[in-house]
């Protein structure tokens, strides 16, 4: 350990790295660079591109639809981080106690994750349909006809309806958290029981702190994926009505369809910047807690 690498080792490392680096450059560095360069150009995607400086950025930042798309993405991400993941953690904690039928429920919760997003979106379109949809039918059956609505076609309900259609698909994060819970030694719970801790106290003081890292990872993943969500919005509302459900990726797509490649790429650059800010911000937010934990461990001699 710690010995210097021989020339032979270095060549070996370089050879092993070449395929990954080549693919990374070809499919990430080059496309992102291309997007950044063309974001300063007026380009229809087919003809010659013309340099226009920051005009594309000033145009999109002055576009109400773009601003609404940013707001919607922020709401989507926040609901992912602070509703979706906590629900997944809650269900995982319940299922980890292995109540009767827990395997069945684990499968049921995970099931939507093996169905394509588009198929799910179409199913929810049918549920939300105001003429034959299940939601309005149920409301009608229980005497709440006044609440029946064209859920995806009204200004007030379209975006919440979109959020609700995926917020309960907690299976993916539930499995990650469940896996983390399974690594907690039973000794901790037995010791807590001897000290008189009941079920809820064990969850709060043992399980939660020990799965905090997994929850924070899930929150980061969920919030970042919220920034790039596209499929279900495209299928269910296409950004409507009146751009109420517009998302950044859909905005980029629409600009591409309208042969405004410069504007589309400027919007994509803003999306990349927001994504970087979100990741850095979340890491900072979470790292504060990790440092505190680290200090506590050092003070008790837990870490050397």
């Amino acid at each position: 350990m710690g010995s210097r690498l021989t020339r032979h080792d270095k060549i070996g490392i370089a050879l092993f790295l070449i395929p990954a680096i080549t693919l990374f450059i070809a499919f990430f560095v080059y496309p992102v660079g291309f997007v950044i360069v063309t974001s300063f150009m007026k380009w229809d995607g087919i003809g010659e591109a013309e340099f226009v400086g920051i005009k594309n950025f000033s145009t999109i930042l002055g576009d109400k639809v773009f601003i609404r798309a940013i707001q919607n993405n922020i709401w989507w991400s926040l609901s992912g981080g602070f509703i979706h993941v906590p629900m997944a953690a809650l269900v995982a904690m319940v299922l980890s106690k292995k109540p009767k039928g827990w395997k069945f429920f684990r499968t049921v919760y995970f099931f939507p994750n093996i169905i394509s997003v588009v198929a799910l979106a179409m199913m929810w379109m049918a549920i939300y349909n105001n003429q034959y949809g299940a939601l309005n039918a149920i409301l009608g059956k229980i005497g709440l006809q006044s609440l029946q609505n064209n859920w995806l076609g009204q200004l007030g309900s379209a975006f919440p309806a979109l959020i609700i259609h995926w917020i309960f698909n907690i299976g993916y994060f539930m499995v990650i958290i469940l896996a983390q819970i399974s690594t907690i030694p039973q000794d901790y719970y037995e010791a807590a029981e001897i000290d008189g801790a009941d079920g809820i106290k064990k969850d709060i003081f043992i399980t939660l702190p020990l799965i905090k890292g997994a929850i924070l990872t899930c929150m980061t993943l969920s919030m970042v994926s919220g920034l790039k969500h596209f499929e279900s919005v495209f299928v269910m509302t296409n950004g409507g009505p009146a751009n109420r459900t517009m998302m950044l990726t859909l905005y980029v797509y629409n600009q591409l369809r309208n042969f405004r490649y410069g504007l589309a790429n400027a919007a994509a650059v803003v999306l990349i910047i927001i994504g970087i800010c979100a990741i850095v911000g979340l890491n900072r937010l979470f790292s504060i807690d990790f440092k505190k934990i680290g200090r506590k461990k050092i003070s008790t001699g837990g870490v050397k």
């Binding site: 105001n130 003429q131 309208n258």
Partner: protein, 445 residues
């Protein structure tokens, strides 16, 4: 220019469907003088580079699949062509049933330089970009061999860019009102309204009879509603309305009428797609739908309770006091066929042979009769003309003018903003003036 072009085609259509019908077999014989076999033979003599032992595989991503009314006969034609040219030419169809997905794929292919051998695209702003891309085959030499004589009026001029014929004009579209006469009569409306006062009076009667008067939609490209708006815009502002831009008051007034129309449609119109709007008409829930002849096939096969017998086509009502004229029609080239530039002269020959085959008058007639669609290729329908198709032809030929619809007359960005602005207006977020302002803003981006 477009208006004249379309009108010229309309007049030529009239001539074709009447005079050519009388000439019958003679005209057909003249057209078929440029049959694929003869042209191909002549070409082969001049082009020794063609490898007779080689099978040329031609890639054809097609939108004429699935539920498209032309799918059935187009599939038959391709099968027949492949059989007749077995071992020499093989047309491989890539089925893409979703129009938006198809358009996106073709556009991306052209931008990336991987143009399919044959593909279709909408005529309009998009077509101009494709023409100037430099990636399409120049068809001028082939057209000049007599092929262009098979097409109506100025259709070839419409696909000519920089003095070169850059595509094959193919399907022609008109979009009258299709109405369910049985439902109209049930409501006590005995004939289709001539103007909008009569129209809304009829809508009131239909509504009173428990019938939803019309299908409208704001989902996807708001197709049906966009067509109604197109009719209103030219009826109020006249056939030259698009020359004045969005400052023409016709756009605001047309929006005002659209607001009123949405009071006579289904509850799910905001957000509804073309499938939903068409479905309401096919199930007999709504009494009117604005759409083109390609929908006739679906009325025949999917219409509830043999509704085909009850459906009639009519020109949209005219706006009293407007600059348009009664009977003014929406007419436009619906689809062009694009061809990729070919390096292999043998493959180029094969592609041209197939294109000549599907534009052969007899084959176009088969597709037209089977689907109800109209084409810019001259052919003799004779007495076999489908009833609704015949009505549309007669109305088009009697029209004082025919102009393309809104989507084909504005920039793609404006067309894509239309559904959003329309839904905003219908839901009360925008006034008609703000609706037009939103379109104008999209125009200036």
């Amino acid at each position: 220019m477009k208006k004249k072009l379309v009108k010229m085609m309309a007049i030529t259509m009239l001539a074709v469907f009447t005079l050519v019908g009388c000439a019958g077999n003679n005209a057909t014989k003249t057209d078929s003088s440029a049959t694929p076999a003869k042209t191909d033979t002549a070409k082969k003599e001049d082009a020794p580079k063609v490898d007779a032992a080689k099978e040329y595989v031609i890639n054809f991503p097609s939108i004429w699949v699935g539920k498209d009314s032309k799918a059935n006969m187009m599939n038959t034609l391709i099968e027949e062509f492949n059989q007749a040219n077995a071992g020499k030419i093989k047309i491989v169809v890539e089925e893409i049933a979703d129009y938006d997905a198809y358009t996106d794929k073709m556009r991306t292919n052209i931008a990336a330089g991987t143009v399919p051998d044959i593909f279709t695209f909408k005529h309009g702003a998009q077509a101009d970009l494709y023409f100037k891309s430099g990636k399409l085959m120049d068809l001028t030499p082939y057209m000049n061999e007599g092929w262009k004589d098979q097409f109506l009026g100025d259709a070839i001029n419409a696909v000519t860019f920089d003095s070169k014929v850059m595509a094959v004009p193919y399907e022609f579209g008109v979009t009258p009102v299709m109405y369910n006469k049985a439902l109209f009569e049930k409501a006590g409306v005995m004939e289709f309204p001539k103007n909008y006062d009569e129209f809304f009076a009829a809508c009131d009667k239909l509504k009173a009879a428990g019938i939803t008067p019309m299908s409208q939609m704001t989902g996807a490209n708001a197709w049906t509603s966009m067509l109604w708006y197109s009719q209103l815009v030219h009826s109020i502002g006249g056939p030259d309305v698009y020359k004045n831009g969005f400052d023409d008051p016709a756009f605001v007034e047309a929006a005002r009428v659209m607001q009123k129309m949405f009071k006579y449609t289904t509850d799910d119109a905001v957000g509804a797609t073309a499938a939903v709007a068409g479905g309401h008409f096919l199930t007999g829930e709504t009494a009117m739908l604005m759409n083109g002849p390609w929908f006739i096939g679906r009325i025949k096969t999917e219409g509830a309770n043999n509704m085909y017998e009850s459906v009639e086509a009519a020109p949209a009502p005219y706006y009293a006091g407007g600059k348009g004229q009664p009977g003014g029609y929406i007419g436009f080239i619906q689809a062009d066929i694009g061809v990729a530039k070919q390096d292999d002269p043998g493959k180029e020959e094969a592609v041209i042979k197939f294109l000549k085959y599907i534009t052969e008058p007899e084959n176009v007639k088969r597709v037209s009769l089977d689907s109800g669609a109209l084409f810019v290729v001259k052919f003799d329908l004779g007495n076999e003309v489908e009833r609704l198709q015949g009505q549309m032809n007669a109305q088009l030929n009697a029209a004082p003018y025919a102009i393309p619809h809104f989507e084909a007359s504005v920039k793609p960005g404006v067309a894509s903003e239309f559904p959003q602005a329309l839904s905003g207006m219908i839901l009360g977020e925008l006034t008609p003036e703000q609706f037009v302002e939103q379109l104008k803003a999209a125009d200036q981006m």
